[in-house]
């Protein structure tokens, strides 16, 4: 593809499931002209409790699938896959690949005054200590406290985001974080922005809450401009959004409706293991 054709190619965004739509939604807001091909690996969700080897294998298959859609850039919206597979898949393709961890880490370092930062995420993300590694490379003095919160995803997906038992579970997981002296908390899982108001209420106004999706979309914008592959159409032209999943497309569509700002007309199911 020459540069002019690449301008009109879509952005590939993938996640272990539906949560990555919080990242795709931010890309849609900041880059409203860009087309998006979204893939949610609903057959193999959740990634957060799985091993590094499997997460790398899954990510490779998804990158191969997105390449069949001629994407011009790929965003790994999933924190777990960003933490465990980004470096590997990035080296295996010519297409630029962005994760959410580096942008999230950068955001948190910009926000903190005390250099004491908390990170919450899945077991695999927290175990990887990837946020810590990335932040320490940028700012060696930073102190990072991580906490895995495995019940947050099922609670959100079951519609319990505003239920009072969720407040208790937020307290259960974040108590040690609140008692520490962090001034910034990274929402290191795509579902967690959907619990933002509960987390904000518990942690208090003085703690900065960082959603990596915002900075990720900013970084994507910058990358497209640098490489001169940003879509160049007149204002008002409609962007196209395509959704693919590996299982149970109908269920995805229902929950996606609570995140995605527009109607999702069609969701296509594919056999990801064939890629």
């Amino acid at each position: 593809m020459n540069i002019d054709d690449r301008k009109y190619a879509p952005i590939g965004v993938f996640d272990s499931g539906v949560g990555g739509l919080t990242v795709a939604r931010e890309i849609m807001r900041q880059l409203p002209k860009e087309d998006i091909v979204y893939f949610g690996d609903t057959a193999r969700v959740p990634y957060g409790s799985k091993s590094k080897d499997n997460i790398i294998r899954y990510s490779r298959q998804i990158v191969r699938f997105l390449q069949t859609k001629d994407v011009k850039a790929i965003v790994i919206a999933c924190n777990t896959a960003s933490a465990l597979a980004l470096d590997i898949v990035r080296n295996e393709t010519d297409i630029p690949v962005l994760g959410v961890v580096v942008p999230g880490a950068k955001s948190a370092l910009q926000a903190t005054r005390t250099k004491k930062i908390g990170v919450i995420g899945t077991e695999a993300t927290i175990r990887s200590e990837m946020y810590t590694k990335v932040m320490k490379e940028m700012e060696p003095d930073v102190e990072v406290t991580g906490k895995a919160c495995p019940l947050f995803v099922p609670l959100v997906e079951e519609g319990f985001a505003k239920h009072h038992v969720t407040e208790e579970i937020i307290e259960y997981y974040l108590k040690s974080m609140k008692e520490s002296d962090i001034d910034t908390l990274i929402l290191g899982c795509t579902h967690y922005p959907l619990l933002r108001s509960g987390i904000r209420a518990y942690m208090g106004e003085e703690v900065n809450i960082v959603n990596p999706a915002y900075e990720t979309a900013m970084n994507l914008k910058q990358l497209l401009e640098e490489k001169q592959i940003a879509k160049d159409v007149s204002e008002g032209a409609h962007a196209e959004y395509d959704f693919y999943v590996s299982d149970a497309a109908e269920k995805f569509r229902q929950f996606a409706g609570t995140i995605w700002p527009c109607e999702i007309d069609t969701t296509k199911q594919i056999s990801i293991e064939e890629y």
Copy 2:
């Protein structure tokens, strides 16, 4: 294999993850001489939110894997796979295959006086209405109420079985069940026996609580005797238990320790998609 060799072959037991150990444990209790090969599909857990096509494909792969271990019978410990895949995989192999749904249904019909029975399970199990179909075939007058309880599995796996938020979530899911006039409740998911005391406390002493694992082990015993393939060794000989998983063996071992009555020395990880 001739009958004498088959007597000494192990029983294959499989589940989407670790929950099926509640069924394997019951087989161990009722058939203490029998060797067991257990497979937990931890790379693709949970099955309960996935489509029928994928659950059938997964079950076929696992049956093929268990056949490489020369099992003499297979127990599908997973309610979801029993509900959606038993009939298909049973027709594709010469080895006898048992699920947990028919034994659970039979138990419930024996226990009920009012013929009003409740079933709780995963979304896929409840959506399949398999318990209802099986019970109505045996007893057309029975009235069955189903309820999916998707948060029970993550709560159990996160060690919240005795936590008071779990009491609230039990109430949330079972309120309509308690207000109905069922006299028997089937625990239609292998994790739910681990919430038995909370469910019992909420539902009250007058409701019979049925764990299909018990009747499944009884049916297996009967089947082995009928086919003359029950293991025939002197009392006191040790049975062997082998554990296989598709991902993150260490994590399986940790949680398995809360269900399985003995130390699990080794858990082997295999690539189930190759079968």
